[in-house]
Symmetry: C3
């Protein structure tokens, strides 16, 4: 179709120094620090890739279902520019191939929307390094890109297990419902052809929120899964402990919690049973449901101190902010919006109880950056049990990462941070996300070397720790 008069379409050029500081001497230091960690194995202690993909080594679907529809980082920005989510496949049960191609064209047409966002960085790196295509997305290139990607992912070398090796993943955590039988994890464990490490993560949020519809049924199901009667709070606790043990037997190292706030406040046994009974009967007021949830979360902390599963906390989000979209399209569509967070008072009771407990470990993530220097770094700089989680979600981006290190390090150093967490459903983007984090940390450390706060040797050790010992310690891996 091309003629001699058509200019060549622009190509993505991944610069080897991307995200490194512009000042030449500092860049030289950063380049050296980054080079030393670039190829170290990936430790991914928190994410959302389904274990089944690896257990069954399922082929990836069409380019839209692979790269667009499930990635709310991407669909939200297109929606913000007026693209209906359904046109991107969100909430569409079985999109036709024409629909998928049309959705891919929308992404390409709106490509400039992603300028300055990490989505551009991740997707460029996925296209070039994982998929081997380097056309800049646009109306002109959409179909060529679509076809090239479709062809590439049809190849056996692009199945999940092959990519697991190619990506250099050392350990990958999934996120799982307490009732999950973890059959895929068991299958992987028992598969002589599999030599990777995929560990489940216990995610019990829905069983703590008595204010949400269907809670009582879910708690019944929990009891069934655990083989105990969850008719009482004592039964709920027993069921949770059993399911946590089931997860631990299947390799779990952490339990993840994401509620509106970070408050954990113990209930005395009688009051707990009373609230639990009212909630079971559907009579709990919103305030009672909240009190119960905070009491149950305290119980989860207590269990973490007992069984050693690292407790991770992701609070401070107003979920499903746009009710009409939730009703039409469901949850996890990019309409969760952060709210201000508070930790100093919220965590006081749990830190009173377990803050110096040798088996308790609490990793706190936030999107409220104001808490990094004000609350989380001071807390992590005193309590041996508390770690400041890596910049999460909207903050998983180069400038935000720099602000995170600048806000946390002077008060808590490096050792009380969590190491990078990709938190992603987008399997293909895992290397790009970890790479961006390694570059950002190299950039930050280079700055400390350049103004003589660290020696180069100290920075080298720290850069290495940040991708090796530090995430392994924080997540007990």
């Amino acid at each position: 179709m091309t003629t001699t008069s058509t200019p060549a379409p622009p190509r993505i050029a991944l610069h080897r120094d991307r995200l490194l500081p512009a000042e030449p001497a500092t860049r030289g230091i950063a380049r050296e620090l980054y080079a030393a960690v670039r190829d170290l194995p990936i430790v991914s202690p928190h994410g959302h890739v389904p274990a089944q993909w690896l257990a069954d080594d399922v082929p990836f679907p069409d380019p839209t279902a692979l790269l667009i529809t499930p990635d709310h980082y991407l669909t939200r920005l297109l929606h913000a520019r007026g693209v209906p989510l359904a046109d991107l496949g969100v909430g569409v049960a079985d999109p036709t191939s024409a629909q998928s191609r049309a959705a891919f064209r929308l992404l390409c047409r709106h490509w400039p929307v992603f300028r300055g966002t990490p989505v551009k960085l991740w997707l460029e790196q996925v296209l070039v390094e994982v998929l081997g295509v380097d056309l800049v997305p646009s109306d002109d290139t959409a179909d060529d890109l679509y076809d090239a990607i479709a062809e590439r992912v049809a190849d056996r070398g692009f199945r999940p297990r092959a990519l697991y090796d190619r990506f250099g993943i050392d350990v990958l955590a999934t996120t799982d419902d307490p009732c999950d039988d973890l059959a895929h994890h068991a299958a992987l464990r028992d598969d002589p052809g599999w030599h990777g490490r995929v560990v489940p993560t216990f995610r019990p949020d829905r069983y703590l929120e008595a204010g949400l519809p269907g809670w009582a049924d879910r708690v019944d199901a929990l009891g069934e899964a655990a083989g105990v009667d969850t008719g009482s709070l004592a039964g709920w606790v027993d069921a949770m402990e059993r399911r946590r043990a089931h997860f631990a037997e299947h390799g779990a190292v952490s339990a993840d919690h994401g509620h509106r706030d970070a408050v954990m406040a113990p209930l005395d046994a009688a009051e707990g049973e009373r609230l639990y009974a009212r909630a079971r009967a559907g009579h709990a007021t919103p305030a009672e449901a909240e009190t119960l949830r905070r009491g149950l979360l305290f119980e989860m902390a207590r269990m973490s101190a007992d069984d050693g599963l690292v407790m991770t906390l992701h609070p401070g989000v107003s979920r499903d902010h746009h009710a009409p979209s939730r009703e039409r399209l469901g949850t996890d569509i990019g309409a969760d919006i952060p709210v201000a967070a508070e930790f100093t008072e919220a965590l006081r009771p749990v830190l009173h109880a377990f803050g110096t407990h040798p088996r308790f470990r609490l990793v706190v993530f936030t999107i409220d950056e104001t808490t990094f220097s004000r609350e989380l770094a001071p807390l992590a700089g005193f309590y041996p049990s508390l770690y400041v989680g890596a910049p999460w979600w909207f903050l998983d981006a180069p400038d935000a990462m720099d602000r995170y290190r600048a806000a946390v390090t002077e008060t808590a150093g490096f050792a009380k941070t969590s190491g990078f967490v990709d938190d992603t459903r987008a399997y293909l983007s895992i290397p790009a996300r970890h790479d961006a984090s390694r570059r950002a940390d190299a950039a930050y450390l280079a700055r400390l070397v350049a103004d003589h706060r660290l020696t180069l040797d100290e920075a080298h050790e720290t850069a290495r720790d940040l991708v090796t010992t530090i995430p392994r310690e924080a997540f007990r891996l």
Copy 2:
């Protein structure tokens, strides 16, 4: 008076690279980006210049009344150093020429007070580029400066219309009371000798605040202006709709709102009428007045969705913080102090109702920087209707602008921001303010190019968009 032994007084040297990054390669990129947008026309979609100045092409007054007395950015800092506001002409009905000269001397004497603030940048640029004087203000130079400026502004070439052309203004928005007949705007429209564009902005705050003295009288006046009975809430709504239509006929593109908080919460009709009646009768409690205001603001949003006037929101300010000064000197004297802002919950009802409405557009400004990354960028990154306003007021300064871009861009990109808003009464400073914004954006974009997040071509397109398509889209110009 000078002798051979007096050293020459220091001169202001406006460096062509001011506000551009120091690192040479990054500066080179920034210089190129800035050069490409430096001379593009000024779009000023929100400000406080009176339309009458242009309608009547009124000559400017003496240097103090021109540059000092009405500019609370400047008087507040002198007041903070102990200069009584009255000595600067604030609240003085008819200052003598001796008083004006004395006030100008105070500015010059305290010139070092402005170091590090944007007032210094703006005023230096006004002196050199607009007024053609370059003496550094000081005790020694005060009188010479005063005389030189007085002479300059007496020239016909310094009338508002001549400056409008010289400044390259494409469109200038004023801010107007709903009862204003907009005669000056009409006069400009009908003036065959005028080829500029001056549009009114609907600013109804005072008609929503039933807790402020005189509210009932103002609402009566509103009814009179609209030709309807505002004795009921339905009448108030009708009157507002008519006045908005009047503004739209005169070219208005937006309605501006500045209350203590951003909450908009619909009232059902009966409850609304009940509260309105109590407020009319002077019986509303402060809590009722607040509930009513939040309901009325929701109504304004609903009207914006109907008539397409862009809704702009400037919440989060404690007005007239120092009551004794307000009593002596009135409002708008630099004693408005920001408070913490909240948007995620405050805007939920209005975004539920109109967040994806094709005619609704909401531009949110804040002085609480914490909300940029935590709330506003996430909201703008999902809702097609919502735009993040440029850094406003105290944040209209180089470092704050950089923090704004760094906080917003990674989550919401560039396209969901508002473009620059000068928000000023200081007509002469309009070019300097827009220039500072263009420099700051060039500096930010250059940084993204220097660390290979954007190509130079992408940065050029974005720099141009930021002063052309983006403000025009956000404000429907």
Copy 3:
């Protein structure tokens, strides 16, 4: 013990350009600015060195008691890595020499914990410049370091008075209880061999907190010290005024206040007496105790306006966050954790009353960085009485200092800031702390020169002001 095959242990190399910007031209400017202020005398208007050290010129104790045990900046980070505080001597009445040496070894073993924190910078400078040892702390060097330091501090040249001269201290403020007779200050004043200036600071927190155990007894003691009956609020006020006068006679220039929040709210006389009486009788509810405290703090502001003692405020901290540690080890062990702060509304009544009062001066410190640009800089940019305190405690670190200047300067300039405050118990670290501040300010100013916001002359003047006229003005020294 060393043999030819052992590599030489690494040495601390203090780089002359540490903390200065990496970009060469900017560094050149910063180097010049720093050089011009490096050796200016130290003004330390707020700190915690005991006056007795200087009055009696007491020899320093062993290295652990000198450098580790009393310094909670340091012990908290070791505790956060699992070192029991008692192993560092905290709460240990009379540690053996073996215990002290073991504690010192723990510091050395965990030396990498301090990477990226100011503790590393301070301690490296103390070791090299004050103590003349330059071994990098580690397991291998711990004993050599311990012995070298012990030997050094046994020397007469390391007594407090000799160091006062060597450090170039011009004035040093202590922090003292209102009941303190200030005998050590008097002794210094009357000592013909002493030519320094050590001033007390009035710190009455414990007498305002009726909610804390022992309050009534403390108030009795206050009455005794003042020679008045504190059985009534009027008596309490009288006693405070007398003790403040006693402090002023002994050279005090400020009164320091640190409560949970910054609220000051006047009580009418009858209500005040009623609450005071209830509190004296032990019947005040927590809410009443809080109301009383806020009323008493307002009284302290009123006294400051009367007697001219500068009021300094350090609010926003949750003290003794970990109750079990407090019970075992006492207070001031590094377990105080910041909370969000609010100033705009909290300070409104006191600024209404005294905001433009010529004798009232209020310096506000915070660890909640969000208030710098949102509240404190706007307040200081209007009220002549209000100054923004230097970055305090966790924020006394290079990156935080840069954020502070960037957040405050554009709105309030330099003249309404307090100058550096070391706030330290660690006498040996005073020069290192002031040096870091001077370097950070030089770095910030150099950036303004490099992008042409300030001329080099303006920056020189400002750099000098920041360590001379500005702290002297803020603290009336």
